[in-house]
């Protein structure tokens, strides 16, 4: 197990950020209405308070709305902040601005169409949504996926993790003023997306991983493409190290900011880099292996301080680990089918449709009616770049799921925001939001 966070010498207490001031030993605690970090107040109540003219005799607590279209809030996240001066006392993430009822929509789409719906939830790591939906469906169907399909899924998902973490570095850098990182992060991510486009036809929202396998086989020259990607990205990661990791401003903005302990993270349901940053070595790829991760050699990156810097270091190093896995997949990829030959799930190949009337009918039926899935309920989970991504499926035996529930890691992780932001300054809040890395499509669904 690699302990990357041990690399930093400065303890959180010695940093000179404003955030530490509020909670530093000896510092005077600010007055507050209640001890909780979570501001449990409706919008109507908040509007009433916010409408009052400022009274100098008041306890000087102010209510500030940040977002929903603030450039640093990762999309449409709105925060209601209770402030004393610049110090955040309590806060409440107000969400739902991107809610489009995708779980309801999922109840009207067949299992084959379901992928097009779930892929749009966490739009930064779409392949993980498709993967977990397919795994749940396959468990209900009781079918096995060919080996090659499973390896392709792993390859694509690990590359997607790279792309997702690169985007985290890009947006996180931009929010903290490291604007060159924004350009570099987007640039490298685009290289990964170019490979995705070559394989799936689309840069995002691929609908590539489907129940039964994947939509298409890898292109003939995929090995050299992926090797080139690794060759391109690996040395760039060292450049990011030079640009960010050791840079004093970057460290001062992140170290000791937004601290969470492992016990708090577990209690609040946090998963992914947020939990690992707090020092808990928990990664579903290792602890509850799915696909062929048990055959892979990789490290689970764990932090020690549970601050923003640890979460940054974890993501940066997870890119390295993902590239390590990808390199192993290049060697391990077997030949064979890229989707199951189970006629119930897989449509007949194009050539058969010209030759056989039955194949034509079958093809038509599978795309209009879909395939029937045995009644029952199932929960499947994978380790997405943001944490545990789960799907709870209930089938009533028809070709349309009775209920599709997505356990969105961003939605649950967002609960830690008020706790991370308490007693810090607003500017640190920006660093904290970035380090939690919520994707609003995943939060609101």
């Amino acid at each position: 197990m690699t302990d990357t966070a041990a690399a930093d010498e400065a303890s959180p207490e010695t940093t000179i950020t404003g955030a530490a001031a509020g909670s530093a030993p000896g510092a005077e605690r600010v007055s507050r209405r209640e001890p909780s970090a979570v501001l449990r107040m409706s919008e109507a109540e908040a509007a009433e308070i916010g409408g009052d003219p400022d009274d100098p005799d008041d306890d000087e607590l102010a209510l500030l709305n940040m977002g929903p279209s603030h450039p640093s809030t990762h999309g449409v996240l709105r925060l209601m902040l209770e402030l004393s001066g610049e110090t955040v006392l309590r806060s409440k993430p107000v969400i739902g601005y991107l809610h489009t009822g995708m779980e309801k929509t999922g109840e009207n789409l067949t299992y084959l169409q379901g992928g097009t719906n779930v892929t749009r939830m966490d739009y930064v790591s779409p392949l993980f949504n498709e993967l977990v939906f397919s795994l749940a469906t396959e468990r209900l169907l009781g079918i096995e996926v060919p080996e090659r399909a499973t390896w392709i899924r792993m390859l694509m998902c690990e590359l997607n993790r790279v792309a997702s973490h690169l985007l985290f570095l890009a947006t996180g850098g931009m929010e903290l003023g490291a604007v060159s990182m924004m350009i570099y992060g987007w640039r490298e991510r685009e290289e990964v997306l170019r490979f995705f486009e070559k394989v799936t036809g689309l840069r995002m929202n691929h609908n590539y991983i489907r129940p039964g396998g994947v939509a298409a086989d890898l292109p003939a020259d995929w090995r050299s493409d992926v090797a080139e990607l690794i060759e391109l990205i690996e040395p760039r990661l060292d450049e990011y190290d030079t640009l960010l990791t050791g840079q004093p401003i970057w460290r001062e903005r992140l170290q000791g900011v937004g601290i969470i302990t492992a016990a708090e993270a577990v209690a609040l349901g946090a998963t992914g880099p947020l939990l690992r940053g707090a020092g808990m070595a928990w990664d579903l790829r290792r602890d509850e292996p799915y696909l062929f991760y048990d055959q892979m050699d990789f490290d689970v990156i764990v932090g020690t301080h549970g601050d923003c810097y640890d979460r940054y270091a974890i993501r940066l190093n997870e890119i390295r680990e993902s590239l390590r896995i990808v390199a192993q997949i290049i060697d391990a990829m077997p030949s064979g089918d890229y989707r199951t030959q189970d006629k119930k799930v897989t449509p007949p190949p194009r050539a058969r449709i010209d030759a056989s009337m039955e194949a034509l009918i079958h093809h038509f039926k599978i795309f209009t009616e879909g395939f029937k899935v045995p009644a029952g309920e199932v929960y499947a989970a994978v380790e997405s770049p943001r944490g545990e991504l789960g799907v709870y499926l209930v089938s009533d035996g028809t070709s349309v799921p009775y209920r599709v529930h997505v356990r969105a890691p961003s939605f649950v992780n967002l609960q830690t925001l008020p706790h991370l932001m308490q007693d810090g300054v607003i500017a640190d809040g920006i660093a904290i939001i970035g380090s939690v890395d919520p994707i609003m499509g995943d939060v609101d669904r």
Binding site: R40, I95, A267, G269, A375, G376, V378, D396, Y402, R407
Partner: protein
Amino acid sequence: MTERYGAPLGVDRPSRGQAVIHPSRSQWTDVATAARADGFDQLIDLTAVDYLNYSADRSLPEGVQPERFEVVASLMSHERRERLRMRVQVPADNPSVSTLFDLWPGAENLEREVYDMFGVVFEGHPDPSRILMPEDWSGHPLRKDYDSGQIPVQFKAASNVR
């Protein structure tokens, strides 16, 4: 073994080998407390299902009376790397169940979502309010008798002329 923490175990077929228990509403808090004490330290997920027009067999264990709503909680024990799912039946005429917030504070947003989408009330919840839909929304969208589509676009400042 047909019981765990005093709640009947689920029938294997519908859950595909995953461990499921079916506590009654009155048992809900006690079973959850026992599970929490037994090492299930994280509430991974909490959701609900509206079985209003479910056509297949519910396959509930003997003695569990099927009701319209079912609240489903997924627990995780990091120590044993084990998962457990708790399913509780919630009747339509009194859709309420006690909160899990006191055991796992992470239940807060998940229970708010279930309230928002299904109208299931969690007794003792610190902030029983909507989370995804607007505060002044009426109805609970994921209920099976809530039609999708044909909803006028809601914009608080607009007068919804249609």
